[in-house]
Amino acid sequence: MNVERVILNASKIDCTGCSTCAVFKAENLQHAIARLNGVLKVKVDEIAGKVTIEYDKEKIILSKITERIGRLGYQVKIISEEEIQ
């Protein structure tokens, strides 16, 4: 196992002024990423638009994760990458 933690900025101009709506979108995003084979942990901070993902580099490449997030309608920007294990 070769675990890497990546922090992404996933932005979407939706849900103006409504926490419920943001929670709703965040939950969908979180589940969709978590289901990818090789993703170990996902945390979505809907207020900051920040997604923290831990994944096994031997099973999935980062671009596959960002592509999935992109297909869900978000603009993705990588903030930081670090190997943790």
Binding site: G17, T20, C21, K25, N28, A32, A48, L72
Partner: protein, 641 residues
Amino acid sequence: MKGHVKGVILVILLGIFTLAGALMPGIQIAYAHELSIALTLVAVALGYRIYVHGIRSLMHRNVTAQLFATIAIFISVIAGFVLPAASATGTAGAVGYLTASAIVAFIILSGMTLEDYIIHRTRGALEKLINMSPTTARIRREGVEVEVLIDEVKLGEVVLVKPGDKIPVDGTVISGQSTVNQATITGESIPVEKTVGDRTFAGTLNEHGALEIKVEKIAEDTTLAHLIQLVEEAQEKKAPIQNVADRFTTYFLPIMAVVASSVFVASYFALGFDVALSRTVTVLLVACPCALAIAVPVAVAATIGNASMNGVIIKGGTHIEKLKDVKLVAFDKTGTLTIGEPKVVEIKTFGNYSEADTIKYAAIAEKFSEHPLSKAIIAKAAEMNMKIPDPTDFKTIPGQGVNAHYGNKHILIGRKLIEIGLSEEANQLISRVESEGKTAIPVALDKHVIGIVVVADTVRENSLESIQRLKRLGVKTVMLTGDSTLTAKSIAEQIGVDEYHAELLPEEKVAIIVELKKDNVVAMVGDGVNDAPALANSDVSFAMGAAGSDVAMETADVVLLGDDLTKVEYAISLSRKAFNRMKGNIAYAFVWNIVALSLAAFGILNPVLAVVLSEAGCISVVINSSLLLRSKPKLLAEVQG
């Protein structure tokens, strides 16, 4: 689920502390008021989710309803300490202000928790699909049966599926016979027969027999996995009508800030500080942008979730809006309205020969032919449980028929080869059959015509009903085909389409779609592969029977996973309902906000009533939207425009 339990516990604790704080002054103990203030402050603090959200959002330059609530509660708490002290009512007066703040926090937190829960429930349809994804498979390795994790299964391996088990992979049956319930994928709960050579889908349920299946797709590549991904993506795609709501919400809160300030200033000079403060707090609390912001997204997600449970994928909010306007549906004929494989529909015999004789000799001659008509005859022979021997020799003459020998018997198939020997009766039959758009295949044995096999493409079981349903909706139906006018006319009459166009080349189909689009919003239904250009040119494209075809699933706007054409009407009806619901939600949320705001500005509401109103407005919109998940496909008799 854990998150919801935590949320509910917080709400309950907040409620208990509020109640305890409010009741405390009634008890005859020392420091009752001080204790009451302490308890109430704890209660207010338990609403931290609201304040954290409000303040963090502000730090990310996003003004939210939670920020307003935070400011309102903060003002009330401060006022509780400052105002009574100034007016000399002391701690007793403070309790009133603080209790009101705690109640406000309680109602807002309850609302947030309840909304989160209801919204989480709209994921139900998707979760159902996800839960159908198999996690293990039973496979045979080196002669031994082992159960392995689905990730460890390799392509080309053979999985064993026992009766009652879920099929773990997409693949082809290589041994065994059973019925399989494919409702997960196609939404059709009537089980399908599966035997050697048939394709199976991961997540479907094997019923009676044991099956051995050769693995073709696993895990993330299966039809089920694609289906889940498409639904996830579709639920995130916003409907154009949301722009209307977004335009309001963008300006909503800044405007509210201005309104709140004006109310404060106006009331301060007219009615004094206390009243001004109370009214301003009320205005801040009554604003409910959530009802507007969430009116559409939840409805879109619920609609798409509902459709996915019925074997239909609608690829996003835009298509819901297009579907609701569809006035004309164009169908491809072959493979869509019809099964697409010719079948023997009639056998006429002459002399002492039986139907079985006719089919037997025809099948012997056609045994090694790949022609669709030959396949129909071979299939008929198999259906009649015949064992067909090989011909001694055979020669296929393209466009004419087959000339074959079986032992010392000479078999001729096809009208052009045996025209000379046809009787008057046979000729009459042939012209009748051809006028119906069917194909007549005469069979001759040793130069005597022993029978005529009639072959035709058959109409799908529910094509007629599908057309009837659309007519009841007030939608026009058109059939497009490359086939002969005779065949087209016959099929069109059987199913009752309003209009048909025959003998079309693919580019002519496109031209007709473009022409039809001038006066109508046009949907086109096809198999998603052969009619791709015409589908691409329609306003909404439907691919039917798309389970297993990645191309069709990927390109169509609406995917019918099974081959039930009545789902076209279902998709249109559901979209009409969903759109009305969205429009209604937006109008309702808008009016609700205006009314509540006016009441607050003129001092008719107090802060507690204000939050009750705003949360009720928001929750009713969320519930109204999420109920779309429960809407069921209509019976034929219930369909109306």
